[in-house]
């Protein structure tokens, strides 16, 4: 017995001294690695405006994902040091942070995340860390635009009792017409309904009053991305009032870039024949994107993270893709594409990629959006 205790102690000291020696010369190695890469189109312009600031004086910002980090990067220029909790390409639904990531969060002056059902772990993490940072919840209070139904029109024909829509769920013709069928009052009703469910405030994880049932992927609609940018600029201005004007200027410039992109994107989408402007995506991240660009969201493979579709739902999706002549299915790199590939094969259509929760490495928000539009045009124009 004593023999083994000695062995255990020897092992412990060996391991500890080994890792101490290894890390001593570069104690901050992990930190520099987790910083978000800087090359973004508007970055160069921002640099010319400001004197170089020593790292210690920079505003430390932590964003939940790389998409939001890239937005902060653009607005903050070289006055901020931005870290994304989630590395590019990681799935925000399953990612586990390292101690360094969380230390960054504890030290941050500004914390930026989407809110709603997208990144609830940020709230728990902030509470655990006892963060005193200014928190900007980018999607807080945002409501789906008129005409975008947030509820279950993608899984029609099952369980009628669940549906409180006015259109007939059983017939595909009526269901897919949601963009025209549902006006403002309907969308408003949905939102209110989501808030009324007891779920919103019941569990200990929900003290921050989530808006359950509201799709959180607002930033994929450029109009909402503008609001995100404005909120980031306001947050930075509050944390660092001396440079508030600088942040506002950068934000204004980036908003103009977003507007220019939007014009280009609409031209691109216009090159798709109207009868082919039909979108089927892997998870339900693109309702606002689709509505903004006049694409009809015919269906999604996985309605909600972790919820497997039933065979009937898969069969119905295949049937709808065929009936509507949807040219392609779009998968997202953070999810296993197997099921989408099977459906595409069954329906005889192509599979392409779109980016939603996670931007490809080295791409900022606009880069990701340009890629999305390019892929949509490639997939649908034919």
């Amino acid at each position: 017995m004593r023999r083994w205790l000695v062995l255990v102690l020897v092992l412990a000291s060996l391991v500890l001294s080994a890792c101490a020696r290894q890390t001593q010369p570069t104690p901050m190695a992990g930190v520099s690695e987790s910083a978000v890469p800087t090359p973004t189109p508007s970055e160069g312009a921002a640099e010319s405006l400001t004197p170089t600031v020593p790292l210690a004086k920079k505003v430390v910002v932590v964003a939940s994902t790389s998409v939001f980090a890239s937005m902060v990067e653009v607005v903050g220029g070289n006055l901020v040091e931005v870290h994304a909790v989630m590395p590019p390409g990681a799935d925000p639904h399953t990612y586990q942070p390292t101690p360094r990531d969380v230390v960054k969060l504890a030290d941050a002056q500004l914390v930026v995340y989407n809110g709603g059902d997208l990144d609830p772990w940020m709230e728990r993490q902030l509470e655990a860390v006892g963060s005193k940072a200014k928190v900007v919840v980018l999607a807080e209070g945002l409501e789906p635009p008129a005409g975008v139904a947030v509820k279950e029109e993608h899984i029609k024909g099952t369980r009628k009792a669940e549906h409180d829509h006015q259109h007939a769920e059983g017939t595909p013709e009526a269901g897919h017409d949601h963009r025209h069928a549902e006006g403002t009052p309907e969308a408003g009703h949905d939102h209110q309904h989501a808030k009324e469910t007891p779920v919103a405030t019941s569990s200990p994880e929900h003290e921050h009053d989530h808006e359950h049932g509201v799709n959180p992927h607002f930033w994929l609609d450029p109009d909402f991305a503008v609001i995100y940018i404005e909120r980031i600029a306001a947050g930075l201005g509050e944390v660092d009032p001396a440079h508030a004007e600088f942040y506002q200027t950068n934000a204004a410039r980036y908003i103009e870039e977003i507007r220019n992109f939007d014009v280009w994107a609409k031209e691109q989408i216009a090159s798709i024949p109207p009868e082919r402007r039909k979108l089927v995506t892997f998870h339900d991240a693109f309702p606002y994107f689709a509505a903004h660009y006049g694409l009809e969201l015919v269906g999604v493979v996985v309605l909600s993270p972790g919820r497997e579709p039933s065979p009937q739902e898969v069969a119905q999706l295949v049937a709808r893709i065929r009936a509507e002549g949807v040219p392609a299915i779009f998968v997202e790199p953070q999810f296993n594409p197997k099921l989408a590939q099977t459906i595409a094969q069954e329906a005889g259509v192509r599979v392409l990629e779109l980016y939603s929760d996670a931007a490809p490495a080295g791409m900022d928000y606009l880069g990701m959006m340009r890629q999305n539009v390019t892929n949509v045009v490639e997939g649908l124009r034919g």
């Binding site: 001593q24 942070p97 549906h163 497997e308």
Partner: protein, 287 residues
């Protein structure tokens, strides 16, 4: 490296409250897991940790749909599953392992089906609520683990002999008038509560490993259940400490680092022991 340098190395991460809580949680889970894990390893129930974590998922789905606390849902599901496993074992005399397999897959499938029926709109990933993260341990999570720990260690110490007999010599135990069924159920319930509370706090992989690996390492050298438990606690706590600092300085996820250290300890001890003598003696003593 000087003495103060070494001390600084240990103290540096602990300036952050969340890292201190993570370390305390890891050590507690390491210790509690080792105690109940000793029964788990000797009875061949390694599967139960994974099973209970998945059962908790169903509890969370029900809680989400019915609108009550996720925590209550997970706990209720685990306790129900514990009772169910006990019932199947007693009722038809199947091995506990088989009973776990039946109850676990049945309850988990129920969760999957309920989710498909109940969730008709974009919703947060409910799986993310099953698995906590060791770096997001809050004060109340720590209290929950500590309470579960006091309960577990208290019962194991108070009923050491009774639990021993009921689990490893049930025929004799029954003959001497011990309530064997109740005692077996007590252990299953303790196990359920421990697993769910710790999985909610620190994540599933860490809990599964702590339930099995330190106890298995101890089983390679211990001769009696009591010494196996003590040694397992040592291995569990050691893995928690070394893994925690390793994860901080190497900047890797803490749960993964702790599990890897526990695994390395097992491999080292397995490589060092002479033959299969110890494990044979131990299992022969407790059958």
């Amino acid at each position: 490296m000087g003495m103060s340098g070494a001390v600084e190395l240990f103290v540096e991460p602990l300036r952050y409250g969340f890292l201190l809580r993570a370390l305390v949680a890891a050590v507690l889970v390491g210790a509690i897991g080792a105690v109940v894990g000793s029964y788990v390893v000797l009875k061949g129930l390694a599967f139960i940790g994974d099973a209970l974590a998945h059962v908790a998922f169903t509890g969370i789905v029900v809680a989400f749909l019915a609108g009550f606390s996720f925590y209550v849902g997970a706990l209720a599901a685990a306790i129900t599953a514990g009772l169910g496993i006990g019932w199947v074992t007693r009722r038809v005399g199947l091995s506990t392992d088989t009973a776990i397999g039946i109850v676990f897959s049945g309850v988990f499938a129920l969760g999957v089906v309920l989710m498909a029926i109940g969730i008709r709109t974009y919703t947060v990933d409910l799986f993310s609520y099953v698995f906590g993260d060791i770096l997001a341990v809050r004060a109340r999570d720590l209290w929950a683990i500590a309470l579960a720990g006091i309960l577990v260690v208290g019962v194991v110490v108070a009923l050491y002999k009774e639990l021993l007999f009921a689990h490893f010599d049930p025929v004799v135990a029954e003959a001497t008038g011990l309530p064997v069924g109740v005692l077996q159920l007590v252990l299953l319930l303790l196990l359920s509560v421990t697993v769910v509370v710790s999985v909610q706090a620190v994540g599933v992989v860490l809990v599964l490993a702590m339930l099995v690996t330190p106890a298995a390492t101890a089983a390679l050298v211990a001769r009696r259940l009591a010494s196996m438990m003590l040694l397992a606690v040592c291995f569990g706590v050691l893995a928690a400490l070394v893994g925690f600092y390793l994860s901080y300085y190497a900047s890797v996820p803490s749960g993964g680092a702790i599990v890897l250290v526990a695994t390395v300890l097992f491999v080292l001890v397995a490589g060092l022991v002479r033959g299969r003598g110890a494990w044979r003696r131990l299992t022969a003593a407790y059958r």
